[in-house]
Symmetry: C2
Subunit: 209 residues, 2 copies
DNA sequence: ATTTGATTCAAACGTTTGTTTTAATCAGGC
DNA sequence: GCCTGATTAAAACAAACGTTTGAATCAAAT
C-alpha cells in the first residue's frame, strides 16, 4: 500500500499532538516534524492552524454523528411503528454506546476522546464553534427523543438529567484515556464493554430517578 | 476600607481572565492592565505566570477542601458512633453539595468552577500537578468512605461509579457557568439549590443501581 | 522534450509572549 | 534629614510562534 498523503500525515500527527499537548502547546513546527512534512505544508493545505484543528475534529465527528443519528432514528422509528413512546433505556443507549465505543475502539481514534472532552471547555471560539456546530443538531435530536421517553417530566428537568448523563459519559472517556490516575490496587485492564454496561446502568437509574 | 493589595488585585484579575480566556490566551499584559498594576509586578510577587495560576487555584481550593474534609469527616464520625457503615447518600452529599455551592455562591468564586472544570483536562503539567496535589487526598478520602458505604461492591465498581458521579457534577458546573448554551424555551433562572437536589437524586440512584 | 500546474522546500517576516533589568519611588526607623 | 529595604515603573530582551515568500521540484499532459 502507498504512503499516506501529506494531508493525512498532517491530520494524524496533529490529532495526536492536539490531544496530548493541547491546541496552543502543539506547535506547527512539532506537528510537521512528526508528520515528516515541511512547515509550510499546513498553511498550504489547510490555510491556518485553526482550520487544521477544524479538519481534525470533523474527520472523526462526522462519522460518529452519522452512527449516533442512525441509532437515534432507529429508536424513534421503532417506537413509532409500535405506537408508543421510546424508552429512556433505548434513547440513552443509542447516544452513549456509539460515543464511547467509537472513541475506544476505532483505530486511531483513541486521542479523539481527549480532544472532545477538552473542546467542550475550550475558551477559544473557533474550537467551540466547530464543536457546537457539529454536535448541537445531534444533541437536540437526543434531547427531543429523551423528552418523549419521559413525558411526565418538565423540559428543564429532562435537560439537566441529560447533562448529568453526558457529564458522566464524557468524564468517563477522559479517565479512560488517562488510566495512570487510577489509585493503587485497581484493575488497569478495563474492559470497554463492561464499562459501558456499568455506565449505562448508572445513567438509566439516574434518569429514571 | 483600604484598596486591596497589589497581590490581591493581580489574583482577582487573573482568576477572571484565566477562566474566561484560558491560561495561555490570558496574557500578563492583559491581566496587569485590568488589575491596574505594572507588568513586572507578577514576576516580582509570584515569580512566574505558572506560579500565579497555582496561587489562583490554591486560594479557592484550600478553603473548599477544608469544607469537604469537615463534612466527610462528620459523616464518618457519626456512622462510627452509631456503629454502622455510612450511607452513600450522606457520603455523596458531603462531597458534592459543598463543591457546587462553593462555586455558585461564594463571592468571586463564580469563575472558579470554569477554572476547575478545565484544569482536569489541562495538558499542561503544572496545572494538572497543582490540581492533583490538592485534590487527590480529598478524593481518596471520598473514595474510601464510599467504599465503606457500599460494602458489597468491588473497589473497581465503586471507583467507576464515583467517577460517573463526579463527571455529572463537574459537567453540571461547567454548563451552569455557560447558560447561553441552553436551548430555547428553557428556564434561564436556574435555582442552585434545586439543581443540587436534582443532581443528588440522580447520582444517588446511579450509585445504588 | 517542453510546458504547466500543483506541491515542497528553506528562509525570513512580523508579532507576541514571559521574563529580566535598571532606575525611580515609597514607607519606616534612626 | 537620611538611610534602608521593599515595591513600582519603563524599557528592553530573547525566544517562540503562525504565517508568508519565492524559488526549487515533481508529475502528468501535450
Amino acid at each position: 500500500m502507498s504512503q499516506p498523503t501529506t494531508k493525512d500525515r498532517i491530520l494524524d500527527a496533529a490529532e495526536v499532538q492536539f490531544a496530548r499537548d493541547g491546541f496552543h502547546f502543539a506547535s506547527l513546527r512539532s506537528i510537521t516534524k512528526e508528520a515528516d512534512v515541511n512547515l509550510a505544508a499546513v498553511n498550504y493545505h489547510f490555510g491556518s492552524k485553526e482550520s487544521l484543528l477544524e479538519e481534525v475534529l470533523k474527520r472523526r465527528l462526522i462519522p460518529l454523528n452519522t452512527i449516533r443519528k442512525e441509532r437515534l432514528e432507529a429508536v424513534r422509528a421503532q417506537a413509532e411503528d409500535e405506537g408508543r413512546a421510546p424508552t429512556p433505556e433505548a434513547v440513552l443507549a443509542a447516544f452513549i454506546e456509539p460515543t464511547i465505543q467509537f472513541c475506544c475502539k476505532e483505530p486511531g481514534a483513541e486521542n479523539f476522546s481527549t480532544l472532545v472532552g477538552r473542546a467542550i471547555t475550550e475558551p477559544d471560539d473557533t474550537i467551540r464553534n466547530v464543536f457546537i456546530h457539529h454536535v448541537m443538531p445531534i444533541f437536540l435530536f437526543f434531547f427531543e427523543l429523551l423528552q418523549k421517553s419521559l413525558p411526565t417530566l418538565k423540559a428543564d428537568t429532562v435537560f439537566w438529567k441529560l447533562h448529568f448523563a453526558l457529564g458522566a459519559t464524557t468524564h468517563t472517556m477522559r479517565i479512560f484515556g488517562n488510566l495512570e490516575l487510577l489509585p493503587e490496587g485497581l484493575n488497569r485492564d478495563v474492559d470497554v464493554d463492561q464499562l459501558v454496561d456499568e455506565l449505562m446502568t448508572f445513567v438509566i437509574a439516574g434518569v429514571k430517578s
